[in-house]
């Protein structure tokens, strides 16, 4: 491996190593492309994704230039719906992972740093959540809250935060024993200062890894819930909902299930690849040893 300039900051070193990790690079490229597609969906889409044209029902892909990827059972442009669907999947992923990170990291830091009763209470909550099959739990919560993307997101946050809390707590426990934390304490620093200045900057690496892999899980779970009818409601172009709607036409128009399915797979794999690569790159042992 190429040796890095010693004066490079740690972050620059990490960026350079992303380039060297093929899987991380591939994942990152796919994600960037999909994000660009989502952002520029209005410009890239040939048609309005919710425009119903019963005269143009079930046109196969690559047959009409007006509908590059064909139309669904209501004559809506599949390509446009896929492009707009990327927006929803990414937005759900980012929102759920973002909120979960904030909740999970906060509770994890408190739990690991203070220990004692707060630790026991928080960790029993985490254990209880983890002991149930997560998708089942999400279905129950989403079912109680009613249909719609908002309730799906709440249900997913309720599950997702636990992994951040656990990872954070573990890192904090090992950091707490480090001499520099003790020396900050003996300096007379407040707990809040130590957590903000010494603990948080040192747990970012593992949290980024969990967040990236969490994105993959959340996108898949959100699609699954929409497939089951809890998430996005018609006519919202959501990949999971498209999959469900196309299910009926699986024999006559298989592209209606294959295309959104492929889109979900691509995004999920991309995040998993990036997460795996980042895990190797940001390995705390590598960071410490260096």
């Amino acid at each position: 491996m190429k040796r890095h300039d010693k004066h490079n900051s740690r972050v620059m070193g990490a960026v350079a190593r992303v380039r060297e990790s093929r899987s991380a690079m591939l994942g990152l490229t796919i994600i960037v492309l999909l994000v660009l597609m989502a952002i520029f969906a209005p410009h890239l889409s040939p048609n309005d994704p919710t425009d119903v044209r019963l005269g143009d029902r079930l046109i196969s892909p690559f047959t009409e230039s007006k509908y590059p990827l064909g139309t669904d059972h209501l004559g809506r442009c599949v390509l446009s719906r896929l492009l707009y669907g990327a927006r929803i999947s990414l937005a759900v992923g980012i929102t759920v992972v973002g909120i979960s990170t904030v909740i999970g990291v906060t509770l994890g830091v408190v739990s690991g740093y203070y220990g004692g009763i707060s630790d026991s209470v928080i960790m029993r909550f985490v254990d209880a959540t983890l002991s149930l099959p997560s998708i089942f739990l999400a279905v129950v919560i989403a079912g109680m809250l009613g249909r719609g993307l908002a309730s799906v997101m709440i249900a997913l946050v309720a599950i997702e935060w636990t992994s951040y809390a656990r990872v954070t707590r573990g890192s904090v426990l090992s950091l707490k024993e480090k001499e520099f934390v003790e020396s900050a304490r003996s300096l007379g620093a407040r707990d809040s200062y130590i957590m903000a200045r010494h603990i948080l900057p040192n747990i970012i690496a593992p949290v980024i890894v969990v967040a990236t892999i969490g994105m993959a899980y959340v996108i898949l779970a959100a699609a699954a819930l929409s497939f089951l009818g809890f998430g996005a409601q018609p006519p919202t172009p959501e990949w999971g909902a498209m999959l469900n709607a196309g299910r009926v036409y699986m024999r006559t128009a298989p592209y209606l299930t294959i295309l959104p399915g492929f889109a979900i797979m691509l995004l999920v794999i991309a995040f998993n690849l990036l997460g795996d690569g980042l895990r190797d790159i940001l390995d705390p042992r590598r960071v410490v040893v260096e």
Partner: protein, 314 residues
């Protein structure tokens, strides 16, 4: 300056049947201002715990710690935080004593920032001053700890400590992870700083040669208890406790003036602090063991000139 009386720490271990681990048991000593007490003993004897207990990084089970007449154990959290800058600790491993994600300059500035002693615009001046005092270059300010050597990092730790202007410094094996040549540099720096700022040192080490250079007084610990304490010269010239004698004979070097000293070999392993032997803790390995040692625990007895020994045969 620092007075420790009957300092005791028991840890509880085991899930169901809790057993007491006697890490530190009834340790007493005092250090005068500007002096150095060397605390020696083999690893696991509780010397590091003594240091942490004094700073109240962990809570003692019993005893008193008087710092400049203030009883540290009775202080509330806020009062403790106020007094903390006056007592500082140097740890064994300089690499983990500094936050890996903080630049050297930020680390040194941290005490100034936390206590707000110096206005912001004067800080960088102060940092340059401190970094010069410990023999580093201003160009190190923007580096990260992993870009510096162990010796340089230990200098950074010293600069950080100087920023607080402490009275008491507890040095826990500050040089044992450094090369011998670097060790000498750091020790000399510490001595110079002591002379300049009138620091009081508690110097924890297992290296008798290092302690001999640094300390005015030496206390020897075995399994959580002090077995002998006295002026450095008294201890080196006329150690009375068989354990101290064994330690000295193990550290034999030409310049230690110990050529004629008989080599004292100890048998066996140090007993676990969970099962401290009844009577004298040292009797399982003592070459001079007698019947009384198995039954009765010897007390520290003064034998003149502040030299105290805990042994039945003195």
């Amino acid at each position: 300056m620092l007075e420790v009386e009957g300092l005791t720490k028991y840890f509880l271990s085991g899930m169901i049947r809790k057993r007491r681990v006697k890490a530190v048991d009834d340790v007493s000593f005092r250090i005068e201002k500007g002096k150095t007490l060397g605390l020696v003993g083999e690893s696991g004897c509780g010397k590091t715990t003594v240091g942490r207990l004094i700073l109240r990084l962990i809570k003692p089970t019993g005893g008193r710690v008087l710092f400049d007449g203030i009883d540290l154990l009775s202080l509330k959290k806020r009062e403790l935080r106020k007094i903390r800058p006056r007592m500082q600790m140097i740890f064994q491993d300089p690499d983990s004593s500094l936050d890996p994600r903080m630049k050297i300059g930020t680390s040194i500035a941290e005490p100034l920032k936390v206590h707000g002693t110096i206005p912001k615009y004067e800080r960088s001046q102060k940092i340059r001053e401190l970094i010069g005092t410990v023999g580093l270059n201003p160009e190190h300010i923007n580096r990260y700890p992993y870009q510096l050597s162990g010796g340089q990092n230990q200098r950074v730790v010293l600069a950080r400590i100087l920023a607080m202007n402490p009275d008491l410094i507890i040095a826990d094996e500050p040089t044992s992870s450094l090369d011998v040549s670097v060790q000498a540099q750091i020790l000399n720096l510490m001595k110079d700083l002591q002379r300049e700022f009138d620091h009081t040192y508690l110097f924890i080490s297992h290296d008798l040669d290092v302690v001999r250079i640094m300390a005015d007084q030496i206390a020897v610990m075995y399994l959580g208890k002090l077995v002998e304490i006295g002026e450095t010269r008294d201890l080196f010239d006329s150690a009375r406790h068989p354990y101290t004698q064994a330690l000295l004979s193990a550290a034999i070097r030409p310049e230690s003036g110990a050529e004629g000293r008989k080599r004292v070999l100890l048998k066996g392993e140090t007993p676990s602090p969970i099962d401290v032997p009844v009577g004298c803790r040292f009797h399982t390995r003592c070459p001079r063991k007698g019947g009384r040692c198995v039954i009765e625990e010897p007390k520290l007895v003064e034998i003149g000139g502040g030299h105290r020994v805990a042994c039945h045969f003195i």
